[in-house]
């Protein structure tokens, strides 16, 4: 998965610029708040899924803590704004710091061990966090959630939010791209191919893993910050398994081991869910079936499929 991405790395710069222009101009074409909302949500979850994929697809570690970082980012900013009455923009700082610290608390003990420990411990971690937040009613307001978080903009239209998330999305993607292209990215490939040989060549395996995990957590924490000040309500619900399953489904269906795949998956799932509301109850069965078939048939997901198609067309 990883390797083919780097070999076939023909992300067309023109396509990217064209996409960016389309996204930047969208609010001029349609002022439909609902449509903009869907794009905002897709971009937000796209960053979460892509940074989860940095750990999953590139590093080969499956963990459940992505929603924990997201939720902690949201709560950190929401709580400081409510109790200290500071500007919501400062919240970015608290969100990224708390998400980063949380990732260290999780990664320092577990990443020294086999990947599988991370999977299990992160699962327990999310549950523990969920219980703490939902039962500490004096501080976090428990199951009722945090109400009255200050918003970023005082306007009714979603255009400002749209541009904010677009900027953060581009920044996050740039960070993720830079990480995969840096020496850390190369170290990641080395670790994934063979951890032992990477170690013997002097790669600080644990250090690289902890660093990558930290980046992924901080980016997700910032998205949590955005969520808190966009939705204006944070409940412990966002820490539940359902959210994590959605992020996982986005990544795997879109195509793990790439940056574009999870974003594609995020758009696909968000829009499909909104336009096929009737499925409601059956949503998770559909997730399960889609995951199942993609795992069985095409582990690279939709993006991998598109890449294959382009490759074949070019051969002709």
């Amino acid at each position: 998965m990883t390797f083919s991405f780097f070999l076939k790395d023909h992300i067309n710069r023109n396509v990217l610029i064209a996409l960016l222009i389309v996204f930047a101009l969208t609010p001029f074409v349609t002022k439909n708040a609902y449509f903009l909302h869907l794009i905002i949500v897709s971009l937000m979850w796209g960053v979460c899924a892509a940074s989860w994929d940095l750990v999953f697809g590139y590093m080969g570690i499956f963990h459940f803590a992505q929603t924990a970082f997201f939720g902690v980012g949201a709560y950190a900013s929401g709580l400081t704004c409510l109790y200290l009455a500071i500007s919501p923009w400062w919240g970015i700082l608290w969100s990224s710091i708390t998400a980063g610290l949380l990732s260290l608390a999780l990664s320092l003990p577990t990443l020294r061990l086999k990947e599988t420990y991370m999977t299990l411990v992160s699962l327990g971690f999310v549950f523990a966090l969920f219980y703490v937040i939902s039962s500490w009613t004096g501080f976090t307001k428990g199951e009722n959630g945090l109400w009255g978080i200050p918003s970023l903009y005082d306007e009714v239209s979603k255009v400002s939010y749209y541009y904010t998330i677009l900027v953060f999305f581009v920044l996050s993607m740039a960070v993720l791209y830079a990480v995969t292209k840096s020496k850390y990215g190369l170290a990641l490939i080395a670790i994934r191919s063979s951890e032992d040989s990477a170690k013997s060549l002097g790669v600080n395996v644990t250090g690289v893993k902890i660093f990558i995990f930290l980046i992924s957590a901080v980016l997700t924490g910032v998205m949590g910050w955005f969520y808190a000040h966009y939705i204006l309500l944070v409940t412990p619900e966002i820490l539940k398994m359902d959210t994590m399953i959605s992020v996982m489904a986005m990544t795997v269906i879109g195509g793990a081991g790439s940056l574009a795949g999870p974003v594609l998956g995020s758009f696909l799932i968000t829009f499909l869910l909104e336009y096929f509301r009737i499925v409601g109850e059956y949503r998770f069965i559909i997730y399960a079936a889609a995951l199942f078939f993609i795992m069985m048939l095409k582990p690279k997901g939709i993006y991998g499929g598109i890449q294959n198609l382009i490759g074949r067309l070019k051969e002709r």
Binding site: Y117, L120, A128, M248, E281
Partner: protein, 275 residues
């Protein structure tokens, strides 16, 4: 009961090196199947027995159609990942299916035999005694099975040295199937035995799955005595701890302790191998 749950989980982890995220779903399914059988008027013990056979077959089927396609990756990290995703998908599917069939409300299962036993200062319901005896018996049976039968021997051989074991003429796929079946049956048994004590609902499996994994990490991977000891330890800690803390805080405390334990002694309290 945590022991039962954890044993099955540890069995799969130890022998094929994969995680079965559907293990919690198996617990839940076991509880619901025996609930249904009992509500049809079957004898409780008989229905538990039937349920275990159904769960065993289900486990074998799952292994055959969902896990075996990945067998060429066995032993690599991507094998574990694929298994995690597929079993997670299964868990979601089972949970939603049960939600659609039975609805989301809590169901209580009638105890096998009502009434209480007075044991010194404690009052213990007959159901608890029944579950306890049944649990201990099956743990002993599994222990003997692994230790003294040919299949058990093969399982241990595969856990230690998969390549050598298959060279000696073992069919690893068959053994993995059996392991998966036994593990599912154990999870189902735990579910069925606990259903009358606690009530059941579609997502009940996750909590018990969580306890199973705490027990496995605490007890150390690949150590059956460790798992048993840790199972009792967690059970006692949890029930004694709830005197001072609410159940939800207890969860957080147990996890804090678990992370500390992993920092200081990653192989668990009784384990011999470092994971």
């Amino acid at each position: 009961m945590y022991v039962l749950m954890a044993l099955g989980f540890s069995l799969i982890w130890g022998i094929s090196g994969m995680f079965n995220f559907a293990h919690g779903a198996m617990y839940m399914l076991g509880a619901y199947i025996s609930f249904t059988l009992i509500s049809w008027g079957l004898n409780a013990s008989l229905s538990i027995f039937l349920m275990m056979i159904i769960m065993f077959l289900l486990g074998v089927l799952i292994e055959r159609f969902c896990i075996r396609p990945f067998s060429s990756y066995r032993g690599t990290p991507s094998y574990v990942m694929n298994c995690v995703i597929v079993t997670l998908a299964l868990a979601i599917a089972f949970e939603t299916a049960i939600l659609l069939i039975y609805g989301g409300e809590f169901k209580t299962v009638n105890p096998v035999s009502p009434g209480v036993v007075i044991l010194g200062p404690f009052q213990i319901s007959n159901q608890m005694v029944y579950s306890f005896l049944f649990g201990v018996l099956s743990i002993a049976a599994i222990g003997l099975f692994i230790k003294y039968t040919r299949v058990g021997l093969a399982m241990r051989a595969l856990a230690q040295e998969p390549t050598a074991a298959s060279m000696m003429g073992l069919n690893p796929d068959a053994i993995y199937s059996i392991t998966f079946g036994i593990s599912s049956a154990l999870a189902g048994l735990a579910g069925a035995l606990l259903a009358p004590v606690y009530s059941i609902y579609p997502s009940v499996g996750w909590v018990s799955f969580l306890y199973a994994f705490i027990v496995v990490i605490l007890g150390g991977l690949g150590s059956m005595t460790g798992v048993i000891a840790a199972g009792f330890l967690v059970g006692v800690i949890k029930n004694v701890g709830t005197i001072w803390f609410s159940g939800q805080w207890m969860m957080a405390i147990i996890f804090g302790a678990l992370i500390l334990l992993l920092l200081l002694r990653p192989r668990g309290l009784f384990g011999t191998r470092v994971g």
